[in-house]
Amino acid sequence: MLLIECPWCGPRDEAEFAYGGEAHIARPTEPDKLSDAEWAEYLFLASNPRGTYLERWRHAHGCRRWFNAVRDTYTHEIIEIYAMGSLPKSKLGIQAYEDSWRRGSAAEQNAKRGSAKS
């Protein structure tokens, strides 16, 4: 059982949390400009690393707030907790973010173009 530090409520038992899957999956803003393969990459492909993973959690049985975490999927060590809408600041977190195949994906480029325009 993990002891997870809710940014608001403090350290709590894992049972109080809901898992929200991989973090930093940007939704394409112009999906019509993506090929089926590129769209499928966004929709269906999930990272499954042995090691540092950027993921989302929700304190479902507490304050009900979302937050991000950098967790090692092998040791279960939680390296960093950081706010939704922000990027990791720890060395391992930054590395995992930058090394992710998503950064170069057509879906993420598409999402970035859309947000730059708006």
Binding site: R12, D13, A15, G62, R64
Partner: protein, 199 residues
């Protein structure tokens, strides 16, 4: 004419209000029919001021803390949510007052009096009792009077509120979980000696 009182606690037929062990380390009682409100709002200065005007004190913004003024307690649930506990039948007037002072603000006041059951635990062994079903660190060095927490007790979602430093706690639990939690508390209290009522 006979007085008609149709209020019926979810613990009717389950909870005792008197009797039990004469050397009790735990006292357990229901605090039936208290008023309860959920207050939502952005937690900003304007919201806190407006809520203060109705409540007589601002909702606490420090996580896991409660404010008590006379018969009203305001328990922090989240940066934008509080549980307000009032005396029996005082909730409607307080809700109206809150809605008035909050005006057109992006806020909500919801009457949840009947959806939550309030229990009162007291006695010298309540710390050990709670530790059996709650993973939260409730040791005096980590938790004290005036603090509250939404957490799990025997797998039930509850709000714990520590009332004083002699082992008095209020527990708020969903009505449908109340009979289960009452029985769990009874069973878990056996080794300390259990008595019902406030004594």
């Amino acid at each position: 004419m006979a007085e008609i009182n149709q209020a019926r606690s979810p613990l009717a037929g389950v909870a005792s209000s008197e009797g039990g062990s004469s050397e009790a380390g735990i006292r357990l009682t229901e605090r039936p029919f208290l008023g309860k409100l959920v207050l939502r709002g952005d937690g900003g200065d304007g919201f806190l001021k407006a809520a203060d005007a109705a409540l007589g004190t601002a909702p606490p913004i420090e996580p896991n803390t409660a404010a008590t003024i006379e018969e009203v307690s305001i328990l922090w649930h989240s940066p934008d949510e509080w549980l307000i506990v009032t005396a029996t039948s005082a909730e409607t007037e307080l809700a109206n007052r809150l809605r008035e002072t909050l005006g057109s603000m992006h806020a909500a006041v919801i009457d949840v009096s009947d959806s939550l059951v309030a229990l009162r635990l007291s006695g010298s062994s309540t710390g050990s009792l709670l530790a059996k079903g709650c993973a939260l660190d409730l040791h005096p060095r980590a938790f004290g009077p005036g603090q509250c927490a939404q957490t799990h007790l025997a797998s039930a979602l509850v709000t714990l509120h520590q009332i004083d430093d002699t082992g008095t706690w209020d527990i708020f639990v969903r009505a449908s979980f109340a009979p289960y939690l009452w029985r769990w508390l009874e069973d878990a209290s056996l080794e300390y000696g259990l008595a019902y009522g406030t004594g």
